[in-house]
C-alpha cells in the first residue's frame, strides 16, 4: 500500500468490479490470472453479496487501458466469473476503511482527538499513550488523515482496500457511462 499516495499525483487506476461464484478457490483463480499477465493489483476487496451464491471482488489495478482489455477478456474465460464491470473513477463511489494506532501522549492527545473529530473518525480503543482510530470514506480522505497523523507517530495502520459502486445519479442521466458492463451478463 502506498502510504505516500497523498503526496504524489493520483494513480492512474482502474476499478474492476468482478461478480464471481462463491466457491472455493475462485479468488486464487482471479489473482493468479493477474499475476500471470504481470499486473500489479493495487488493492483487492472481496465479500459475499446479498445473493449468497455470489461474491463481489473489487480490484484496483494501476495500468494503461489497452492491456487491461486483454486481462478482462481472460478473466471472463474463468468459468466462475459471472460478470465484470469496469468502473470509471469519475463516475463511481469509492469507499475504504482504515484503522490506525497513533501516539497520543497527554500533551498531544487533545490535538489528535480534535483531528479525529474534524475527519469524522471514531476512537475505538484507548491506551496510556496511544489511541486507535477508525476512519471510513473516500480513499483520498484516508490519505489526508494518514498524512496528518504521521506527525504524531503512527505505530500501526491497516486499510481494507477500496470497494466501489457506480454513482446513481450519473447512471440515471447517462445510463451507460458509469458502469461499463463488459458483457457476460449473468
Amino acid at each position: 500500500m502506498a502510504s505516500t499516495a497523498a503526496a504524489e499525483a493520483p494513480p492512474r487506476h482502474h476499478i474492476l468490479s468482478v461478480l464471481v461464484e462463491n466457491k472455493a478457490g475462485v479468488l486464487a483463480r482471479v489473482s493468479s490470472l493477474f499475476a500471470r499477465r504481470g499486473f500489479n493489483i493495487y488493492s483487492l476487496a472481496v465479500a459475499p453479496t446479498d445473493d449468497e451464491r455470489f461474491s463481489r471482488i473489487t480490484i484496483v489495478v494501476d495500468v494503461e487501458s489497452s492491456p487491461l482489455e486483454q486481462v478482462t477478456k481472460q478473466l471472463f474465460k474463468l468459468i466462475n466469473v459471472v460478470k465484470i464491470s469496469e468502473l470509471d473513477p469519475a463516475d463511481a463511489v469509492e469507499r475504504e476503511l482504515m484503522i490506525l494506532t497513533v501516539k497520543a501522549e497527554p500533551g498531544t492527545r487533545g490535538q489528535v482527538i480534535e483531528l479525529v473529530d474534524v475527519f469524522q473518525g471514531r476512537i475505538v480503543d484507548v491506551g496510556h499513550d496511544e489511541l486507535t482510530v477508525e476512519l471510513a470514506g473516500p480513499p483520498s480522505k484516508l490519505d489526508d488523515f494518514e498524512d496528518l497523523m504521521r506527525a504524531y507517530g503512527i505505530s500501526a495502520l491497516q486499510r481494507t482496500g477500496r470497494v466501489a459502486l457506480p454513482k446513481l445519479e450519473r447512471q440515471a442521466r447517462r445510463s451507460t457511462s458509469g458502469l461499463r458492463a463488459l458483457g457476460k451478463v449473468g
Partner: protein
C-alpha cells in the same frame, strides 16, 4: 438408487457416452478402478500417464468426441500436466480425472499428495476438486459440457479417495443425473452479431486481394463444408494453418496450403500482399505472423473466433465477430449471397475483378513450389521428404497422419496432401515432442477402420515409445515411420543457421538405440530402410500388416533442412527458399 462415489463416477462417464478411457491406476484412484470391471467402457492401460493424456487428445482430434483419461494422485497427476497444457493450447476437448488423497489428509503432505488443482489452474479450461460424493454426477456433467462447448479445452476433475471408497461412509450417495447445467458464468456466444456479419460481407464484396486464413477453429466447429462453400461462392483462396491442414482440401484449386515459418512461398506471400484477411478460427500465432509489425501490412482483418479474448489479442480486427465458426460462416454465406443478388439487380458485377490476383497466385505457385532432390546414385542419402511422399502415395487416401514436433512435423505438413478433415493430428501450440506415438494410438482407437501412420522423429520417438507396448498389448495396429536423422534435427537446423554451426547437445546416434530391435521387443514388426529403393516395399509391407503395430526406421539424410523458412523475429517478407539464398539470411 444408492451408489458409492466410485460407481457414480463410472456411471456418470457412461451417461456422457464415453466408450473408451485411457489410464493407469494407483493408490488414490483404486476404488474407481473396481467398478470399471463391470462397465462397458473400454479402459486402455497405458505405460506412462503422459501417454494416457496424449491418447485422449488423439482420440478427440480424430473423432471430435471428448477424450477421457484417468490417473492417480501425485506423480500420476503431474505426469499428465503436459497433455493438459497441450490440449489447452490446441483447444482439444478432454476430461482428465485424477485421484486425490482422502479429504482429511489434504494439506498434510500425505503420500502421493499433490495440489493438482493449483498446479493445473493455468493449463486447463477449468478444474474442480469434488468435495462430496453427492456432487459427482453434477461435476462430471459440467466437466463434459465445459470441455466440449465454446472454445473446447481440457477440464480436470480431482476426486479425494474417501468419497469414492465403498468402505468409507463419505462415499454414500443417491444416484441422479442432471438434465442441465447451472453455470451462471459460462455462456459461450455461438451466433455472430448480425451487423458485424453484414460489415464482413461488405468488406468481402469490395476486396481485390482477399485471402481466407483458416485455422484449427474450422475443424473444432465442424465447419469444413461451410468453409468450402464460402471459398467457392466468393472464389477466395484459402491458406490452412498447421492446425487446419485438411480443413480445406489440398487438391482444391483454391487451396494455397500452409502459411507461416515453414509455410510455402505462395501461402506466406498471399497473406503479406492481401488487402483483406478473413481469419476463421485462427489466432495470429507468432509462427504464422512472423514479426507482427510487418505482417500483412495492407490487409483489413475480419476475425471470427468463438473466444472473445482472441479478437484483438495480436492484431486489431476491422470486423471482429465472436461466434462459432460454422454458425458464423453460414450466416456470412447468406449475407454474401444477398449482396451478390443486390449487385446483380443493379446490373453491376457481384464482386470486383480478381483475375489479376488469381493469376499472381498461380504464378507464385509455379515459380516457388516446394522442392527437394532425391538422388539415386551410389552414396546418395535417403531424403525424409521422399519417404513422406512415398508413404502418402502408397497409403489409403483417408489415412490419418499423426506427427511429433520438429523437422519431420513440418515436412509431413508440407508434403502430405490432406484432402479430408481430421486426417492430420499434431501438437501445434505447445510443440510437445513425443506426441505422435500415443496420439496415434488414441486416433486408431477412435477410428479403428482407418490406417493410422505416426510420422515421428528419432528424438520424439524416444520420449514416448513405450506406448507401443500398450498398442501391442491392446491390439491397436498403428504404424510408425521414424525419420531417423540421428539428431534433434530442428535444433540442429537452428544451430547450423543461427549459431555458426556450433552443434551443442543435439547428436543422438542413428543406431543407439537399435529401433528395429526395440520395436520387436515391444511386440511390433520392426524394419529398417536405408536406400531409396527399399522405401516403397517396406511401406507396402507395413500397410499389409493389420494385427500388430509396425515401426519402420528410415535412415535419412541428417543434413536436410526444412525450407522455406522465415527466421524467428523477422518479417514474412523475408522468406528463405533454400540454402542457395544464404545461410538463414546471414
Amino acid at each position: 438408487m444408492k451408489l458409492n462415489g466410485g460407481q457414480a463416477l463410472i456411471k456418470s462417464l457412461e451417461m456422457e457416452g464415453v466408450e473408451v478411457m485411457f489410464g493407469l491406476p494407483g493408490g488414490a484412484i483404486l476404488p474407481v478402478y473396481d467398478p470399471i470391471i463391470d462397465s462397458p467402457i473400454r479402459h486402455i492401460l497405458v505405460r506412462h500417464e503422459q501417454g494416457a493424456g496424449h491418447m485422449a487428445e488423439g482420440y478427440a482430434h480424430a473423432t471430435g468426441r471428448p477424450g477421457v483419461a484417468m490417473v492417480t494422485s501425485g506423480p500420476g497427476a503431474t505426469n499428465i500436466v503436459t497433455p493438459l497444457a497441450d490440449a489447452m493450447m490446441d483447444s482439444i476437448p478432454m476430461v482428465v480425472i485424477t485421484g486425490q488423497v482422502p479429504s482429511a489428509s489434504i494439506g498434510t503432505d500425505a503420500f502421493q499428495e499433490c495440489d493438482i488443482i493449483g498446479v493445473t489452474r493455468s493449463v486447463t479450461k477449468h478444474n474442480e476438486l469434488i468435495t462430496s460424493a453427492q456432487d459427482i454426477p453434477r461435476v462430471i456433467h459440467e466437466a463434459f459440457h465445459i470441455a466440449t462447448t465454446g472454445r473446447p479445452g481440457p477440464v480436470l476433475v480431482d476426486i479425494p479417495k474417501d468419497i469414492v471408497d465403498p468402505n468409507n461412509p463419505n462415499s454414500a450417495m443417491d444416484w441422479y443425473w442432471p438434465d442441465s447445467v447451472d453455470l451462471p458464468g459460462y455462456k459461450p456466444t455461438v451466433k455472430g452479431h448480425p451487423r458485424m456479419i453484414r460489415e464482413a460481407a461488405k468488406l468481402i464484396a469490395e476486396a481485390k486481394r482477399p485471402v481466407i486464413y483458416a485455422g484449427g477453429g474450422i475443424l473444432k466447429a465442424r465447419a469444413a463444408a461451410a468453409l468450402r462453400e464460402l471459398a467457392e461462392l466468393t472464389g477466395i483462396s484459402v491458406v490452412t494453418t498447421l492446425m487446419a491442414r485438411g480443413a480445406f482440401p489440398d487438391s482444391h484449386p483454391l487451396c494455397l496450403g500452409m502459411p507461416g515459418m515453414h509455410g510455402n512461398y505462395t501461402a506466406i506471400t498471399s497473406m503479406q500482399q492481401s488487402d483483406l484477411l478473413i481469419a476463421l478460427g485462427s489466432r495470429f500465432d507468432d509462427r504464422v505472423t512472423g514479426k507482427v509489425g510487418g505482417f500483412a501490412p495492407g490487409a483489413k482483418i475480419i476475425h471470427v473466433d468463438v473466444d472473445p479474448a482472441e479478437l484483438g489479442k495480436v492484431r486489431r480486427p476491422d470486423v471482429p465477430i465472436v461466434g462459432d465458426c460454422k454458425a458464423v460462416i453460414e450466416e456470412l454465406l447468406i449475407a454474401v449471397r444477398e449482396g451478390q443478388a443486390t449487385a446483380a439487380e443493379g446490373g453491376g458485377p457481384a464482386q470486383p475483378d480478381r483475375s489479376e490476383w488469381a493469376a499472381q497466385l498461380k504464378q507464385w505457385q509455379a515459380q516457388f513450389p516446394l522442392h527437394y532432390d532425391q538422388g539415386w546414385g551410389e552414396g546418395d542419402a535417403l531424403k525424409p521428404q521422399f519417404c513422406i511422399e512415398m508413404l502418402r502415395d502408397n497409403s489409403p487416401e483417408d489415412t490419418i497422419v499423426v506427427s511429433g514436433v520438429g523437422q519431420h512435423q513440418m515436412w509431413s505438413s508440407q508434403f502430405w496432401r490432406f484432402n479430408h478433415p481430421y486426417t492430420w493430428i499434431n501438437s501445434g501450440g505447445l510443440g510437445t515432442m513425443g506426441f505422435a506415438v500415443p496420439a496415434a494410438v488414441g486416433a486408431k482407437v477412435g477410428m479403428p477402420g482407418r490406417t493410422v501412420w505416426a510420422i515421428d522423429g528419432d528424438g520424439c520417438f524416444q520420449m514416448t515409445a513405450q506406448e507401443l507396448v500398450t498398442a501391442s498389448a491392446e491390439r491397436i495396429p498403428i504404424k510408425v515411420a521414424i525419420l531417423n536423422n540421428a539428431y534433434l534435427g530442428m535444433v540442429r537446423q537452428w544451430q547450423e543457421l543461427f549459431y555458426e554451426e556450433r552443434y551443442s547437445e543435439v547428436y543422438l546416434s542413428p543406431d543407439l538405440p537399435d529401433y528395429k530391435m526395440w520395436a520387436e521387443a515391444m511386440g511390433c514388426v520392426g524394419m529398417r530402410v536405408e536406400h531409396p529403393d527399399e522405401v516403397v516395399p517396406a511401406i507396402e509391407k507395413a500397410n499389409s500388416i493389420d494385427d500388430r503395430p509396425v515401426v519402420i526406421d528410415f535412415r535419412v539424410d541428417w543434413t536436410e533442412k526444412v525450407y522455406p523458412m522465415v527466421a524467428a523475429g523477422t518479417s514474412n517478407d523475408q522468406v528463405i527458399l533454400g540454402p542457395e539464398m544464404g545461410e538463414g539470411g546471414h
